[in-house]
Point group: C2
């Protein structure tokens, strides 16, 4: 089974990487870009596991290792 | 308009960050995790622009700045 976990900064948390990208794009003439936020997409390949168990275990992994839940949110997508 | 650009390493390109995550998860008991790849998700807020123009401009931005197309692929999603 394959899954994707999207990790994004929570609203209101400053994103210096996104700001640097926005600034770079503005300097290249892409003035239509109003805001940029950079997050992570983590693609996971899992061995034999049920969808229910996969969702539960991936949420655990996200809480413990993949996301810093003080400042980041995560969303799990099973493929 | 909002858009997301997903930037991932091409097949066959070594992903040390993904390997570190897989190794960390294995050490925590998540032996079902066979492989991990880490990519970027870039969320972009655009001003007044048509969907056609947005797709064209975002592809340009991806080629020029957001992705290193030698080793990375990108996918654009208009929301």
């Amino acid at each position: 089974m394959h899954a994707r976990i999207y990790v994004t900064l929570k609203k209101g948390v400053h994103d210096p990487q996104g700001e640097a990208v926005r600034h770079g794009l503005a300097g290249m003439g892409y003035k239509e870009v109003l805001d940029v936020r950079v997050g992570k997409m983590i693609e996971v390949k899992l061995g034999e596991i049920s969808r229910e168990e996969a969702e539960k275990r991936l949420a655990e992994m996200s809480e413990k290792l993949l996301a810093n839940t003080v400042i980041e949110s995560y969303r799990i997508e099973l493929l």
